[in-house]
Symmetry: C2
Subunit: 327 residues, 2 copies
């Protein structure tokens, strides 16, 4: 057993995180849909983190991190680089605890995302839209302010927070056979895998990934972390690649990564909107898409949990809109 394994979030840490963050998050509902059950040939239970505060599960990890900072760390502030839900989560968690958040965003981020972060009282710094520019800018800010860096996923405080989502699922549903979780950087998937080990060890945890961003799939096949793919999948929340910590956890605790085509991701997204009447980001549709595509081992007739990760999507720019208008 390596020292890294010893520092993995354990049952007590996940339970403590849940107790800490509970006053600040929604207990999100689990929804079902007969039509989708029939289409897939299994019983599906959708955990609606799209209905979570800031519209995504990311608030869990951000809140857990912020609530476990020392007083001195709180004084110095927190920082991250992100154009997505993690930026909003850190900004919102900072605002709630009166901690200054410093967010580095690519200068081509949508205005609505810039506004959201600024409205939560964060200081926003813009940089060129490259990974190197982000890192350089972040480094500069951290050195100047002494702020604590909070990685979007490769951070045990964040992973422990994300683990509370699966914990809630197992509190509500005792006999899930499978739990399907989208995989980008792997924070939610690795947290879910750890929670499952502790709270529902008979449940198999499966990552769901776009075929066009299959770096996690390849990483698990080869045993070596693969770099991110070109950012072409519509599931924009899943374009990042695994971190060191998330890779280790997923390698050891996730039984399989299932892939989905872009066509089925869009189809699944539209089905969830039309049939379940909820707004989800394209990334959330990937688990259902892998089932529609028949790419998950041995799922027929099973009880399957699916985490719907977020609902922050541009309502004017829906992928099926052009085809619908042609009808």
């Amino acid at each position: 057993m390596t020292p890294t394994i010893l520092s993995l979030p354990n049952l007590n840490q996940i339970a403590t995180a849940h107790r800490l963050i509970q006053p600040y998050i929604h207990r999100t509902p689990i929804l079902t849909c007969e039509t989708l059950n029939r289409m897939v040939g299994a019983q599906l239970f959708f955990k609606c983190e799209n209905l979570q505060k800031i519209g995504a599960f990311k608030i869990r990890g951000a809140m857990n991190t912020v609530l476990t900072l020392t007083e001195a760390e709180k004084q110095r502030g927190i920082g991250t680089h992100s154009s997505g839900n993690h930026a909003q989560a850190i900004a919102y968690a900072g605002q709630l605890q009166n901690i200054q958040a410093h967010i580095v965003m690519p200068n081509n981020s949508p205005q609505v995302k810039k506004d959201a972060v600024q409205n939560y009282g964060a200081k926003v710094y813009f940089c060129e839209p490259t990974f190197e520019a982000r890192q350089a800018k972040m480094q500069e800010i951290l050195q100047k302010t002494g702020a604590e860096f909070v990685h979007p996923y490769d951070d045990y405080r964040v992973i422990t927070g994300q683990a509370t989502c699966a914990k809630e699922i197992y509190e509500d549903l005792e006999d899930l056979d499978l739990l399907l979780v989208p995989i980008g950087g792997g924070g939610l998937l690795s947290g879910s895998a750890l929670a499952t080990q502790h709270f529902s060890p008979h449940t198999k945890v499966i990552g769901a990934e776009p075929a066009l961003a299959n770096d996690a799939y390849e990483s698990l096949q080869t045993g070596i972390r693969h770099p991110p793919k070109p950012p072409v999948t519509i599931a924009d929340g899943l374009r990042t690649s695994l971190g060191e910590k998330t890779f280790e956890i997923i390698r050891d605790h996730v039984s399989e990564i299932a892939l989905a085509s872009e066509e089925n991701i869009i189809r699944a997204m539209r089905l969830i909107w039309e049939r379940m009447k909820i707004i989800i980001e394209p990334s959330c549709a990937v688990p259902l898409a892998t089932l529609l595509e028949g790419n998950v081992s041995n799922f027929k007739g099973k009880k399957i949990g699916i985490i719907l990760t977020g609902g922050n999507v541009d309502l004017a720019n829906l992928p099926w809109l052009s085809s619908l208008n042609q009808q």
Copy 2:
């Protein structure tokens, strides 16, 4: 006390209806949103009947009616005329209980609505899109089949079923000051008013109506039932006017009807989509719109329940889409 009053659904009937229909409906979640609370200056609790079976509360009344038919009535079938959620509810309830449903629909109904009803195994009959043609066609079918007519709202079996929604709200929330319910034909509002009388008598029930379809408002002002207004409001579920039974209940048990402009209905609809990440029909947005407009008496700082009635909306035809695209 008049004989009509004596036949109003009572506490036992509502509780029995709830017990009967529970196996066939979702216990829909109640969601909250801090941003909307701040904008309105009150605490809002949204009962999500858009996430109900068939995407609307109408399944409650339909299911209660179907489950209380005699065996002979079940043999002869059920019938209704509707192009909206009631048609789907009757078709679905019939399918579940193996009862033939006969649905008269205007021939200009959207294809998606015709398909939905037919997919539930109902026989669909098309007629010219006038009220007279609907009634004549319905009469013809009922005479031929002996089917039991189920009015969309002016039927105590239906009203009793709709009352179970407010009953669930009061089971989850004990101290609501106000309950806001959209008003079209008045089935949900009158059911909610009766449930409130029995399960939360300190709560004030308020109807929310588009200013362009203010027939219920005028009916309560004058004490005489007013006919429907021209069908111009975007809140298409609320274009019908009160029935005899619903009018009596609303007159006696609803404290106020609040009005909303089309502009605020569209604004409220977009806010609920963007902030709460759920899909609602325009009709659902009317209660929030009356609050945004400041048209409800004495609501600041109060705990307010709002029933979101349905989510069956054309995803390709959203009222804000053209303005968003111009941004």
